[in-house]
């Protein structure tokens, strides 16, 4: 059974004059869930996240927290939700005071020093080196992690992050990911994360929603194929799946890089297309077929070994193949269709 809703937004509308309008008929954040958000700049992601964080009051609609309708001045509830913006602001104080601030305003002073030091360690900052540093003595990545630490220490029921890895180095991105995964595991915190980095997001989110022009436009079905990869011959690399099948790829930026594969770059076949070079033909079976919102194509989900791959086919193509959930199929795509994340190259 799915976890009950921690937060539910109903018929939420917000607009900036005639230029932009946000309209979300329904949005549910289940308890302990991790929801990703992608979308182009100006699509309304940040505004919607601020509404969910009780920082911006919607012009219309209601928000329910644990089934209770929320008034924005209800501190008891709104303090369970905290938000980390893309470019966080640090108070003009020491790192220690920045991290401790949220607890101080809650008059929660118990073991404050130890808790601050613990959460700094969680985000990869040595308390001995950083606790007494001033706000202006930090790099961009360090400042982002201090801002994250000041949210983690609150152990919120819902943490909302807007592009948490946009302006940070790779090490900081990994530490941020580890810290939020730990928060969810240890304290059952639900997470909503907006990011342009779909690979990073795929590594943490259970579901990724797409926002376009102020509307939630369905789920993202980009396929992610994680490493490790090994060189096969020349420029051809491969990754062996647990059932012994091999995925072929072009040279990855690093052995552990993850590859993205568009659902449009996959075709399905009932027969093994023999004699193909630099092309993948993996045996699997169909687990789901879903109609897309446009009703022009279908998303067919096929399981290959431990991978679940989505491919987009026309209704006509699915009819001609005659496939149903449970059907055995070959999932075919070119090695050159796999795209690498630039972040993995550093």
């Amino acid at each position: 059974m799915a976890d009950p809703a921690l937060l539910r937004a109903e018929d939420v509308e917000f607009s900036y004059g005639d230029q932009f309008s946000l309209h979300v008929p329904e949005f549910i954040i289940p308890e302990r869930s991790v929801i990703g958000f992608v979308g182009p700049n100006g699509s309304g992601k940040s505004t919607f996240l601020r509404v969910l964080a009780f920082l911006v009051k919607p012009h219309k609609g209601s928000i329910f927290f644990s089934d209770d309708a929320v008034s924005f001045d209800n501190d008891e509830i709104t303090r369970h939700v905290t938000f980390l913006p893309q470019d966080p602001y640090l108070l003009k104080r020491s790192v220690f005071e920045n991290v401790a601030y949220g607890l101080r305003v809650r008059h929660d002073h118990k073991n404050l020093g130890e808790r601050v030091r613990g959460v700094l360690r969680q985000v990869g900052l040595s308390p001995d080196l950083f606790a007494e540093r001033q706000w202006h003595e930090l790099s961009g990545g360090e400042a982002q992690r201090v801002a994250l630490a000041s949210r983690l220490i609150l152990r919120p029921k819902l943490l909302i992050l807007d592009e948490p890895t946009a302006n940070v180095d790779r090490e900081s991105a990994l530490l941020i990911k580890d810290a939020i995964v730990l928060l969810r595991r240890e304290y059952d915190t639900a997470l909503v994360i907006a990011s342009h980095d779909i690979l990073w997001l795929s590594g943490v989110a259970e579901r990724i929603d797409k926002m376009v022009q102020g509307r939630i436009a369905g789920y993202v079905s980009e396929n992610v194929l994680p490493g490790p990869w090994s060189r096969k011959s020349g420029e051809l690399w491969s990754r062996m799946l647990p059932d012994g099948q091999v995925v072929r790829a072009t040279a990855p930026p690093s052995e552990n890089a993850s590859a993205l594969l568009s659902p449009r770059d996959i075709i399905l076949s009932l027969k093994d297309p023999e004699g193909l070079s630099a092309r993948n033909a993996l045996r699997g079976h169909v687990t789901a077929i879903a109609m897309e919102e446009t009703r022009e194509s279908l998303t067919v989900t096929a399981t290959v070994s431990n991978l679940s791959l989505h491919c987009r086919l026309t209704v006509q193509a699915v009819r001609e193949l005659g496939i149903l959930p449970g059907s055995s199929v070959f999932v075919i795509f070119k090695a050159t269709s796999l795209r690498w994340n630039e972040r993995d190259s550093s």
């Binding site: 920082l55 501190d75 980390l84 913006p85 966080p88 602001y89 305003v105």
Partner: protein, 229 residues
Amino acid sequence: MDYLISGFIGAFKLLLSGDAETYSAVITTIAISSLSIVLSLIAGIPFGFLLGYFNFAGKRQVRAVVDTLLALPTVVVGLLVYAFISRRGPLGELGLLFTILGVALAQTILITPIVVSLTATAVESLDKRLGMTLATLGARGGQLAIATILEARYAVLIAAVTAYGRAISEVGISMMIGGNIKWHTRTITTAIALETGKGEFSMGIALGIILLSLALIANSLLIGLKRRN
């Protein structure tokens, strides 16, 4: 020129010998200015915060009034306060005329607009992300206000130092409300005016040096604060 040179020599003698009359004026000046700055900060910082933090109908008009009051002539404040606290005035029974408290209250009226205006500007120019950061960390009501003023602390201190500089150097209020009473309400500025009128340059120059020194200290502080800000 001789009288000026002898005036400077006399001034240093007065300062170095610890002349009681000279130092009485200095202590009175510091006492009045300190009291007025404390009162103006108590009144001005909250009002400046409200003016800078919130947007409301008529805000621009209120701001225009406050900014106009920055140029308030000291003699006009003196006149108004005198009218209220003189024996015939509505507050005459309080006996504030020719007292240190009376002068301090009038100076508070003079310098509070400086604190209000500079605090409002400081709050307005804070990073727009501050309010959201404080709110998402759980700050509410008074906590938000205190944290916001703390973020603007250097600019608020600049406001305080600027206001203090105005208070110690004004003469109109001190003369009209204080009455320039020796050993009681005589301040540096009123003493300079009196002694110069009498042709006693030594004491005038001695007090002028002290006044300039106080102004120099205040300005050095101001420059340091502006650099930190």
